[in-house]
Amino acid sequence: MRTWVVVGVTIALAAALFGACSSGSGESELLRTDLGGETTTNALNMNAFSLPAANLPGEDRGRFEVGDSFFTQNWVAAPASTTNRDGLGPTFNARACAGCHVRDGRGAPPNADTDLVEAPGLLVRISVPGTGPHGEPQPDPNYGEQIQDVAIIGVPAEARISVTYTPVTGRYADGTEYVLSRPTYRVVDPMFGPLPANVLLSPRIAPQVIGMGLLETIPEADIRAAALHPPSDEVSGRVNIVYDAVADDMRLGRFGWKANVPTVEQQVAGAFIGDLGITNPLFRAQNCPVVQVACAAAIPGGDPEIEGRSFDTVVFYSQVLAVPARRPLADADRDAQGSKVFERIGCAACHTPTQRSGPSTIPALAEQTFHPFTDLLLHDMGAELADGRPDFDASESEWRTPPLWGLGLVQKINPKARFLHDGRAATIEEAVLWHGGEAAPAQKRFRELSREDREALLAYLETL
């Protein structure tokens, strides 16, 4: 982190000299630096994911700060003097959003020899076969939809999560060997009876929070059009149609690793109740399955524990966190080379470089052209990445294309962060190598690249 400040200054200079100043009108969309359109921030330090959209008007700053505070500060057990910050748990995964989304960035999985309690950047979704009334995964009767591995005093935590890694070796076409780590997650010390033999587990890493409001405003028709007319014969993205608790109807899913949540508001509300144990305007019931008697008996921190006014600021905060600018390589030719390889081997077929937003209740987000590198669609990623747990229309091997903006800053902001849904990839390179299913042909072309092209591509990905 210390060295990062220098790097930041250097990259800022590089950006100044080679990026913004050389942008011509005929430039490839892959070389744009304004990844978040007019919301883009040029901050490059450890707070680069924590700033408001650059075009956010000054009068919105107060709301942003309040939302930041509720996102970042710990929640405490009820009752407490800080009445609007109490109600943690009774069972939970983290004490604050920022406990997993470190500096609004990505979470870290546990090391093989540590307890998840000490690395809460990952949680484990749980269900039993079948679906609930709206097509959602069927919660386990004793543990619900997620393992909460921490609890307030006097309430048992549900279980602990442990992980072991198995090495998987492979080879590039040029003979270079690589070693990946395949994780096996297990639920240990379950407090309310053994998990059923057919239980479905899905470990999920907390992703960076930037640019969510922009993704929310992409017109649904654009997302559906990309599903109907895939840009390549190799891929066939699908929309996930999920339950919208506000509309009480089925809607297009955009957020979550399986696009299983329709709006930022519901993502935030779901995280409050599921991850922190904070009841909120959307989900007012404590998360205590019937057998968890002490959980149900714990003192709540109000009804709901986060009031509408404060809750809305966290939604707003999550919507307007700025996307950092791309930081082009000092060598402009290599920069362009990397972007061309990205297109040539097929990355852009799912990691759609450019999207446009429609109207928005937040004017700063409206009518923007931006570069998230996602189509927001589900793709079959193959058996290796499959979690075996369907989520609405997403099959056991389908995942939503994650945005790539901010990618190169992820480990600068949280050095322990890892990539892919379960944090199995220590580097961007490993993440690329894990791609399978629809992405298998592109992954094969990646492995067959010359060393120079491969390195140019990885260098380009670091600029995002």
């Binding site: 982190m1 210390r2 990062w4 400040v5 930041g8 200054v9 800022a12 950006a15 100044a16 990026g19 913004a20 100043c21 921030t41 040029n42 901050a43 490059l44 450890m46 680069a48 924590s50 700033l51 408001p52 650059a54 008007p57 000054g58 009068e59 700053r61 107060g62 709301r63 700060e65 309040v66 930041d68 505070s69 500060q73 710990n74 405490v76 057990a77 009820a78 009752p79 407490a80 003097s81 800080t82 009445t83 609007n84 910050r85 109490d86 943690l88 983290a94 004490r95 604050a96 920022a98 406990g99 309690v117 000490e118 809460p120 921490v150 307030i152 005093i153 006097g154 404060s310 600018a325």
Partner: protein, 391 residues
């Protein structure tokens, strides 16, 4: 008033953006100035002296607390509280040395959360209104012994180092919950004599105070001059631009994002009366003033209870005298504005407190001034060819 501040607030971000993408080839190098080296070395001395002073004050508090615990009495408790209040400003001033990943908030080892986390998880520590059996103190079966390890382990669970230690834990154990709208908390000294688990409460207070002393000692050690392998040595080995960017980032981030934003504006907007940092002792205003003074120390080079020498002001004045003078003025004005807020802070957070009341007007004026000074700090860094990013 309000909207002006807010426009100013975002202007900083815009200014940064322009700074980062400007096409100027004017790459001034602060390192060319001999004064830059002096400023950096003086800063390191000042940081060391400030942590050393904080440690001394905390040790004095520790002695009062030990005396109180040896023979608990009303007077002893009052003396311990006075010692806490007396020790607090010296620490508050050191918060100007945060936000660049130095010893205080190093990603791996920084003790900041353990020293000063807020809000405090009261019910994790002791009884609270509505839950008389709450906390580690009242749960001898789960926590048979109260040791430094028990408290630091508890801190780790659930992410952020957090909840059961530091200044505010000591504050809570001395004052108790603030249930009054006009005064601070009123924990009876009998909590340490005849109340249930009085002995365990005393152990907790003693242990958590010792832990604070240890943490402050680690910061003193990290900045001690003349040591080969500590942070001060590492810091002094940085090139000038980088070291200066750290110094500027610390005061820039504290000014607006942390102090004006997180600590003042959130409390102002939320209007929850105990949504303030020193909510048990009603010491929040003094905390705010100490933060503002810490920024001034770094800027002017005049360290309270420590050395006087060239600060950032002198260095910036070499390049832009007017900018340096204006920044000096506004930083002083922020302190004056903070001093003009009527105590206690929490009375201005009541639901029915009028926005035109002198207290709320003074809070806004202080936030405006802090925001203004942040812009000037960013400009000052820029004048030296250093781009910093602060919220």
């Amino acid at each position: 008033m309000r909207s002006l501040r807010r426009v100013g607030a975002l202007a900083g971000v815009v200014a940064l953006s322009l700074g980062a993408v400007a096409c100027s080839s004017d790459d001034r190098d602060a390192g060319s100035s001999a004064l830059a080296r002096e400023v950096i070395e003086h800063y390191a001395d000042g940081v060391y002296a400030s942590y050393a002073l904080s440690l001394t004050e905390a040790q004095a508090m520790d002695e009062e607390i030990d005396a109180f615990l040896a023979a608990p009495s009303e007077e002893g408790l009052e003396l311990a509280r006075e010692a806490w209040l007396a020790a607090r400003p010296a620490y508050g001033r050191t918060e100007a040395f945060r936000f660049y990943g130095g010893p205080i908030d190093d990603e791996e080892t920084g003790p900041e959360g353990q020293i000063n986390a807020w809000p405090l998880d009261e019910a994790y520590i002791d009884y609270v209104v509505g839950d008389p059996g709450a906390g580690i103190i009242n749960n001898a079966s789960t926590y048979p012994e109260i040791t430094v390890e028990v408290l630091t382990d508890a801190n780790e669970a659930g992410g952020e180092a957090n909840i059961s230690t530091g200044w505010h834990a000591i504050e809570f154990l001395l004052w108790g919950q603030d249930l009054s709208t006009t005064g601070p908390g009123a924990r009876p000294y009998t909590d340490y004599t005849t109340a249930p688990n009085a002995d365990r409460r005393g152990e907790y207070l003693a242990v958590v105070t010792d832990l604070l002393i240890d943490d402050l000692q680690s910061l003193v050690d990290a900045w001690a001059p003349g040591v080969d392998d500590n942070y001060a040595a590492e810091f002094l080995a940085l090139d000038d631009d980088e070291a200066l960017s750290y110094i500027f980032t610390g005061i820039g981030e504290l000014s607006r994002g942390e102090l004006a934003g997180e600590r003042m504006n959130v409390a102002y907007e939320e209007r929850s009366q105990e949504n303030e940092h020193s909510c048990f002792s009603d010491n929040t205003l003094a905390d705010i003033q100490a933060n503002a003074e810490g920024i001034q120390m770094v800027w002017t080079g005049v360290y309270v209870g420590g050395p006087t020498g060239p600060g950032l002001a002198a260095l910036v004045a070499e390049t832009d005298e007017d900018l340096a003078a204006e920044t000096t003025e506004v930083i002083a004005a922020s302190i004056e504005a903070a001093e003009s807020i009527p105590a206690p802070f929490d009375q201005h957070l009541a639901e029915d407190a009028d926005d035109t009341s002198p207290g709320r007007v003074a809070i806004v004026a202080t936030m405006d001034s802090l925001s203004n000074q942040t812009d000037l700090i960013v400009q000052s860094a820029d004048a030296l060819g250093i781009s910093i990013a602060v919220s």
